[in-house]
C-alpha cells in the first residue's frame, strides 16, 4: 500500500485535489506551507496537545459497554467516548488544531460552515478563546433543526449567517463559506469542519482528529491486550471516521467500517450515502464519491441527522473504499431511532443522531462476530442538541 497520502498535489489515488476558483489557490498554498512547517514543530505540537488535554479533556475514555455486549452476546463492545469532549463531539479536536494554525498565520477573522451546529459551536468556542471575529454559515433548514446550537454559537460571540440558497443545508453553507473566503481572502482563516474540501484540508482535518485513533491503539492494548477486530464510525463528511481509522490503515487485520445515512432507504433515493449510492464527481474543491445526476448536478439529500445530510464525502474515504481497505454501509432513519433509544436505555448514554448511525449497524454486524472478538464504536458526539428533533420526529409534546 502506498504511504504518506495525499501525494504532493493533494490526491488519494484519483480522489482529492484542489478544484477551486483561482483566487483561493493562494490561500490554499499559504495554508499548506504553514502546515508543512508547523506539523513537526515542537512548540506547535506541545501547544496543541496541551490544549487537547486541558481544554478539551483528552484522552477520551475507552469504555466497556457491558449491557450492549450482553444484549448481542457475541463480541465485546467498546465505546470511544468523544461525546465526553468539551462541546460534546469530536469536532473540537479539529478546531483546536486549526485555530492554532490561524494564530500562527496571524489571521484575525474566522469563518466556518456547520450542519448539526457541532462544528459551528466548536469553532465559535476556540475563536472566543482567542478573541477572534467569528462568522458561521448554516443552512436555514439546519438553523431550525438545531436551534439550541445556534443560540450557543451566539452566546460564544459568533455571528450566525443563515443560508437560504439551494437546499439550505450543509452543502449550501459550505458554498457560502467558500464565497466569503474568496471575498475576504487575506485576513480570513476558513476552518472547514470535516475531511472534505480542497487539499490540504482533508489531510489537516484528518491529522488533527487522528489523536482519537492513536489513543485507541494504547487503550486497546491496556483494555484487552491487542488491537480491535472492527472499528465502526458514522460518516458524514467523514472526519470522526477518518480520525479513528487513520492510525489503523496499515493494520490489515483491523476491519474498518463506515456507516452512512440511508435516510428513507437507499432504494428510495432519499438518503445521504454517496459511498453506497454515488459516483465520482467534483464538489467543494475535491473529487470524491458524490450524489449526482447524469448531468453532473448535485442531488438533494435526506437524513434525520443534520450532520450527515451532505451529498459528498471526504476523498480519502473514496480511496479507502476503492482499494477495499474500509467497508461502507448505510442504515435508515428508522434503524437509527431504534438504536438511539437502545443506547440511552442500555448504556445511559445519549448519543448524537449522527453517532446513533454507528450503533444502528450493530444489529447486522454482531451476529457475524464471535465471543473472543472486540469491536470499537466511535461515539462521535452527544445528543443533547438533537432532543428538539427527536421530540418532533416522535410527535411528543414537552
Amino acid at each position: 500500500m502506498k504511504e504518506n497520502l495525499p501525494d504532493q498535489d493533494g490526491f488519494f489515488g484519483e480522489y482529492g485535489g484542489k478544484f477551486v476558483p483561482e483566487t483561493l489557490m493562494f490561500a490554499l498554498d499559504e495554508l499548506e506551507q504553514t502546515y508543512k512547517t508547523l506539523k513537526d514543530n515542537n512548540d506547535f505540537n506541545a501547544e496543541f496537545h496541551r490544549d487537547l488535554a486541558e481544554f478539551v479533556g483528552r484522552p477520551s475514555p475507552l469504555y466497556f459497554a457491558k449491557r450492549l455486549t450482553e444484549h448481542y452476546s457475541t463480541a465485546s463492545i467498546w465505546l470511544k467516548r468523544e461525546d465526553l469532549n468539551h462541546t460534546g463531539a469530536h469536532k473540537i479536536n479539529n478546531t483546536v488544531g486549526q485555530i492554532l494554525l490561524a494564530k500562527y498565520m496571524g489571521k484575525k477573522r474566522i469563518i466556518a460552515e456547520t450542519g448539526a451546529g457541532q462544528h459551528g459551536v466548536a469553532t465559535a468556542t476556540v475563536a472566543a478563546r482567542l478573541g477572534l471575529d467569528c462568522h458561521i454559515y448554516m443552512g436555514s433548514e439546519d438553523v431550525r433543526r438545531q436551534s439550541l446550537n445556534v443560540y450557543r454559537m451566539k452566546l460564544l460571540g459568533a455571528k450566525v449567517h443563515e443560508v437560504n440558497s439551494g437546499s439550505a443545508t450543509l452543502k449550501d453553507a459550505l458554498n457560502e463559506a467558500l464565497r466569503d473566503w474568496v471575498t475576504n481572502i487575506e485576513d480570513t482563516y476558513y476552518i472547514i469542519g470535516s475531511v472534505t474540501g480542497p487539499h490540504p484540508y482533508p489531510m489537516i482535518v484528518r491529522d488533527f482528529n487522528a489523536v482519537v485513533g492513536y489513543e485507541l491503539i494504547e487503550q486497546s492494548q491496556e483494555s484487552f491486550g491487542r488491537m480491535p477486530d472492527s472499528i465502526i464510525a458514522c460518516v458524514g463528511g467523514g472526519s470522526n471516521a477518518m480520525g479513528i481509522f487513520y492510525p489503523f490503515i496499515k493494520m490489515n487485520d483491523v476491519e474498518l467500517i463506515g456507516v452512512e445515512a440511508a435516510g428513507k432507504g437507499i432504494e428510495t433515493g432519499e438518503h445521504a450515502a454517496p459511498l453506497n449510492d454515488g459516483t465520482p464527481g467534483v464538489l467543494h474543491g475535491a473529487k470524491s464519491y458524490l450524489m449526482q445526476d447524469e448531468n453532473g448536478q448535485v442531488k438533494g439529500t435526506a437524513s434525520i441527522s443534520a450532520g450527515l445530510d451532505y451529498p459528498g464525502v471526504g476523498p480519502e474515504h473514496s480511496w479507502l473504499k476503492d482499494i477495499k481497505r474500509a467497508k461502507y454501509v448505510a442504515v435508515s432513519d428508522d434503524e437509527v431511532m431504534k438504536a438511539f433509544h437502545m443506547v440511552n436505555r442500555m448504556e445511559g448514554i445519549l448519543p448524537a443522531l449522527e453517532t446513533a448511525h454507528a450503533f444502528a449497524y450493530l444489529d447486522e454486524l454482531m451476529p457475524q462476530m464471535s465471543k473472543e472478538q472486540h469491536i470499537v464504536i466511535n461515539v462521535s458526539g452527544r445528543g443533547d442538541k438533537d432532543l428538539n428533533s427527536v421530540v418532533e420526529i416522535e410527535g411528543i409534546k414537552l
Partner: protein
C-alpha cells in the same frame, strides 16, 4: 484562424477593445436564450460567454446563482446548450462562443465536448480548475477549443507564468477578490497586474468581475484588451423575463460598448 483569435485581431486592427458578455443558458428558457444571444451581438457584444448552470456555483454571487437555479428548473444540461449553440450558428457563424462553468458538469459530458468540429463552441472556461493544470488530464481534449484560464489578484507571479503558458484565446483577469457581481474594484492594482501579465505573454487579457457602470468599463478597458460583463446583464434579463421585452438589455449593452470605444 480560430474565431476568438480572429475576432480579437479584427478589433485590435481598428484599435477597439473587446466586449465579452455573459448570459446563463436556459434563463429564462433556452428559446429566449437563443434570441438573447442574437440580440446581444446586434447590440455590441463581440464574444459570447454562455454560462452552464450548476447546482453549486461557488464563484458566483446571488444574481448569477439565482439564474443558475432558474435554468436548472428548466432541466438545462450541456447537451441542450450545445444544441442551442448549433441553432445560433445557423444565423451567426462568426461570433466566438465560450462555455463557462464548473468541472463536474464538463466531466459528465466529456465525449460531447471532445467530439467534434461541428460543436460550434470556441472555448471553455472551467471556473474551478487551477489554471496550471491541463483539462487533458481530466479527459477533456479537443484541439479546436481554446482553454481560457483565470488569473486573480492573489495569483503569484510564478503561477501567472505557468497559467499563461496553458491558456489560449485570452486570459481572463478576475478584477477583484470576491464572487461575480461584487463591487470593490481597485484600478491601480488591476492595472499593475494586467501589465505584468502582458509583459510575460502575448495572449490578450480580458478584465472581468464587478464591472457595472460605464466608468468601470472605460477604466478597465484602458489597460486591458477588453472587458467581461455578467451580473448586470443577467439581472436585466431577469427583470424583463416576464414580458420578454429586452430593449433594456440591448440599451445597456450598447451603452457599455460605447464606453469602451
Amino acid at each position: 484562424m480560430k474565431r476568438i483569435e480572429s475576432r480579437l485581431k479584427e478589433l485590435s486592427k481598428v484599435n477597439q477593445k473587446a466586449f465579452v458578455g455573459y448570459i446563463v443558458a436556459g434563463d429564462p428558457d433556452l428559446e429566449t436564450s437563443l434570441d438573447l444571444m442574437h440580440l446581444s451581438v446586434e447590440s455590441g457584444i463581440d464574444i459570447l460567454e454562455i454560462g452552464v448552470p450548476f447546482t453549486d456555483p461557488i464563484a458566483e454571487g446571488p444574481t448569477i446563482q439565482q439564474a443558475h437555479d432558474r435554468s436548472l428548473e428548466n432541466d438545462t444540461n450541456l447537451q441542450k446548450i450545445v444544441d442551442l449553440v448549433g441553432r445560433f450558428r445557423e444565423k451567426d457563424s462568426d461570433t466566438p462562443i465560450i462555455l463557462m462553468g464548473y468541472i463536474n458538469n464538463f466531466l459528465m459530458y466529456k465525449d460531447l465536448i471532445n467530439s467534434s468540429d461541428e460543436l460550434g463552441v470556441d472555448g471553455v472556461l472551467v471556473v474551478d480548475i487551477p489554471g496550471e493544470l491541463s483539462l487533458k488530464d481530466y479527459g477533456i481534449d479537443n484541439k479546436d477549443l481554446d482553454i481560457i484560464s483565470l488569473v486573480s489578484p492573489t495569483t503569484s507571479k510564478e503561477r501567472i507564468q505557468r497559467i499563461a503558458k496553458n491558456s489560449s484565446g485570452f486570459i481572463y483577469y478576475v478584477t477583484l477578490r470576491g464572487v461575480t457581481g461584487s463591487s470593490n474594484l481597485d484600478g491601480n492594482e488591476i492595472e499593475q497586474n494586467i501589465q505584468y501579465i502582458k509583459s510575460i505573454s502575448t495572449t490578450p487579457v480580458m478584465a472581468g468581475f464587478g464591472i457595472k457602470t460605464k466608468d468601470d468599463a472605460k477604466l478597465l478597458s484602458s489597460f486591458s484588451d477588453g472587458i467581461v460583463i455578467g451580473s448586470s446583464i443577467v439581472e436585466l434579463i431577469h427583470k424583463n423575463s416576464e414580458n420578454k421585452d429586452f430593449h433594456e438589455v440591448s440599451d445597456y449593452i450598447s451603452t457599455m460598448k460605447d464606453a469602451i470605444r
